[in-house]
């Protein structure tokens, strides 16, 4: 199956910053003679435009984390890209993540930065924070040591951090401060594109709100695009312009946030949204039966069919393509019937 042509109606004015086409990334292991192939990312196509915040949602082990790592070029064997491409376009300079690793490496931090999952631990525990800024950003800025320092301090202040944190060691800072610092680190070069993997997961709710507001604020100010992953639908609701739903390594639905929340097209999306707690609602949310599938031996046809309340025989044999529908795209044989169910 080759890439599906991009037909999103929203793509009229801006050229896409990121183009992911027919991306397949598998864990391929020859594990003591047991050949295993885990299809963590299976034929994903999506584009992200300038100034856009794109959220990727899904349960844990749905492959969403693998997807964003693959996009960031942050994968190590045994996870390998099998097919497809990831291309960034930074002002006419097109970078193929898997085609030109050297050029890609140079572009990092200047054009593309990354906020890692578990970003509590991304700072080197034995060095002061200032060294991290220096290592990551100094070369890209072309400034003198002093000017660089001033620039960093200013940046920190803007983010609401006391510049004195530069002289601290990571373990002396609170979780929230460290998270802010990684965001500061990721944005200090004012990149065109930020990739964030579960940026708020480890934080408590209040800090989480704070950080979300910060991300959104920076994005507005710098005019960057963001792609981020989280399982937490409320975060998507808070900042994403568009969201994509991933199930078992596949993109099953995509659309403007508001539309997706209002009118999910895929039964899985519908379930995710329905399970959100609502004010004043005291009824227990119905849990989805069954477990996410084993990606090493995924179900035939639509991978959701064993858990799907709407499944029909066709779902068991044929894989539904991702097709435009309403303001977004969806991959379901019974897409139109979800709302009714």
């Amino acid at each position: 199956m080759l890439s599906v042509v991009e037909k999103t109606p929203l793509s009229v004015d801006a050229a896409p910053v990121l183009k992911v086409e027919g991306l397949k990334a598998y864990y391929q292991m020859n594990y003591f003679g047991v050949r295993r192939e885990v299809r963590a990312v299976d034929d994903v196509t999506l584009t992200i435009k300038r100034n856009e915040i794109y959220g990727i949602a899904g349960e844990s082990s749905s492959g969403k984390s693998s997807l964003i790592k693959t996009i960031a070029g942050a994968i190590t064997p045994p996870l390998r890209v099998v097919e497809g491409s990831v291309k960034f376009d930074f002002g006419g300079k097109v970078l193929d993540v898997y085609g030109e690793p050297e050029r890609m490496k140079k572009a990092r931090w200047q054009h593309l930065s990354y906020i890692m999952q578990g970003s509590m631990n991304v700072l080197n525990p034995v060095r002061k924070v200032k060294h991290a800024f220096h290592d990551f950003a100094f070369e890209h800025m072309g400034l003198s040591e002093r000017a660089f320092r001033e620039r960093v301090e200013k940046h920190l202040q803007r983010i609401g951090l006391d510049p004195r944190v530069l002289e601290s060691f990571p373990h002396q800072l609170s979780g929230g401060m460290r998270q802010r610092l990684t965001i500061a680190l990721a944005t200090v070069c004012e990149p065109d594109f930020i990739i964030a993997d579960e940026p708020t997961t480890a934080l408590d709710v209040l800090v989480q709100q704070d950080v979300l507001a910060l991300i959104k604020d920076i994005q507005r100010r710098m005019g960057a695009s963001i792609i981020f992953v989280t399982h937490d639908m409320t975060v998507h609701a808070a900042i994403a312009d568009r969201i994509g739903i991933v199930y078992a390594g596949r993109l099953v639905e995509e659309g403007p946030t508001l539309d997706v929340f209002r009118q999910p097209q895929h039964p899985y999306t519908a379930h995710l949204i329905a399970s959100l707690p609502r004010l004043g609602d005291k009824t227990r949310r119905s849990a989805l039966p069954g477990k996410p599938p084993n990606l090493a031996e995924p179900p035939s046809g639509c991978r959701f069919h064993p858990r799907c309340p709407l499944a029909i025989d066709k779902c068991k044999t044929d894989n539904p393509p991702l097709e435009n529908r309403l303001s977004g795209r969806v991959a379901c044989w019974r897409a139109g019937e979800v709302a009714a169910a």
Partner: protein
């Protein structure tokens, strides 16, 4: 009390406990020794001369008095601590009446010098090679040196020493195989003396290096291959940080911390290796003193050397413990 002070107090407590338990253990074991120093001396003195049986009786009594071996075990133990605190282990029985302490003090610089040098080389080289091998997994040269080091690793010190002794003392006799410096050369800060020290120290030090390097190499390599998957390393790679910098500041520096603790913990074992090496190369250090003490049944010497080595190892561990916070900020700032 801040974290550092707390750390310090704990280490200090540990330091004294190690000394107390170690020295007591050594005392008890030594006192259980079946060798009677008086008999040992008597047989030394009567072995070669014409002997009058009645005279031997007299000699025996006189020696018992002289060696101060009277009194119960507890009395001897209490008295022993009193003397240990003053650094006085009494006279050596086999080198009577030279104080044990002065024997140890003249041997100690040799051992400390040899061990420090060998340990620095071993630790640095082992960790450097191990870290490189862990980071650059596909480098053929590093793979080969890794295989060589690993094959060498299990070979006991005695055998490595023996092979070196034969290779450079017999088959191709270019290095001295016995003693600490050239004969009739008085210790001085001169070219000749230092050259002689280096020549005589080469084979013992090489033995210790070859014996010790393997475990540092292996542990460092596995530490590094774990650390390279740590978030901060992966992140730095994604941040386009230069790989030489990642290796030195992100990988090696973090991996060195457990290795430093390992260094402190290994000192006791390293001393064991030094005993064998000194014995083999006839190196005038404390290890050889210890083996001689055992062979001669000189238990005040054995007790003195064991006590001193326990104290010395504890002091070295303590010093490393003090250095540790300088390198690991997490300990420094609690």
């Amino acid at each position: 009390m801040d974290g550092f002070a707390k750390y310090l107090v704990r280490r200090l407590f540990q330091f004294f406990l190690v000394i107390f338990l170690g020295v007591s253990l050594a005392f008890v074991i030594t006192k259980l020794s079946p060798v009677d120093p008086v008999e040992q001396s008597v047989s030394l003195m009567t072995n070669f001369g014409a002997t009058d049986p009645r005279a031997v009786e007299l000699m025996r009594e006189a020696l018992q008095e002289l060696y101060g071996l009277k009194g119960s075990m507890i009395e001897q133990y209490v008295g022993f601590w009193g003397r240990v605190v003053q650094g006085d282990f009494g006279p050596s029985l086999s080198s009577f009446p030279t104080p044990v302490m002065s024997l140890i003090m003249s041997a100690l610089p040799w051992t400390v010098g040899l061990l420090t040098l060998a340990l620095i080389i071993t630790w640095t080289l082992g960790n450097l090679l191990g870290a490189l091998a862990g980071y650059y997994r596909n480098n053929t040269l590093l793979k080969l040196s890794g295989a060589a080091i690993m094959a060498l690793h299990p070979v006991p010190a005695y055998i490595i020493g023996l092979v070196l002794l034969l290779a450079f003392g017999f088959i191709w006799p270019v290095l001295p195989i016995s003693g600490g410096a050239q004969m009739n050369l008085q210790p001085a800060f001169s070219f000749d003396y230092i050259r002689s020290l280096i020549l005589h120290g080469t084979l013992p030090a090489l033995t210790l290096v070859l014996v010790g390097i393997g475990s540092w190499f292996i542990s460092m390599r596995s530490l590094v291959s774990n650390i390279v998957t740590d978030d901060h390393v992966v992140y730095a790679e994604l941040g386009g940080v230069k790989s030489s910098k990642i290796f030195s500041q992100y990988v090696a520096r973090n991996a060195l911390l457990p290795q430093l603790t390992g260094l402190a913990l290994s000192l006791g074992n390293v001393f064991g290796g030094a005993v064998i090496t000194e014995f083999l190369f006839n190196y005038p250090g404390v290890g050889r003193l210890l083996i001689q003490g055992i062979y001669r049944g000189d238990y005040s010497l054995v007790l003195g050397v064991t006590t001193m080595s326990i104290v010395a190892v504890a002091v070295a561990v303590f010093i490393i413990d003090l250095i540790y916070p300088l390198i690991d900020p997490r300990v420094r700032h609690g």
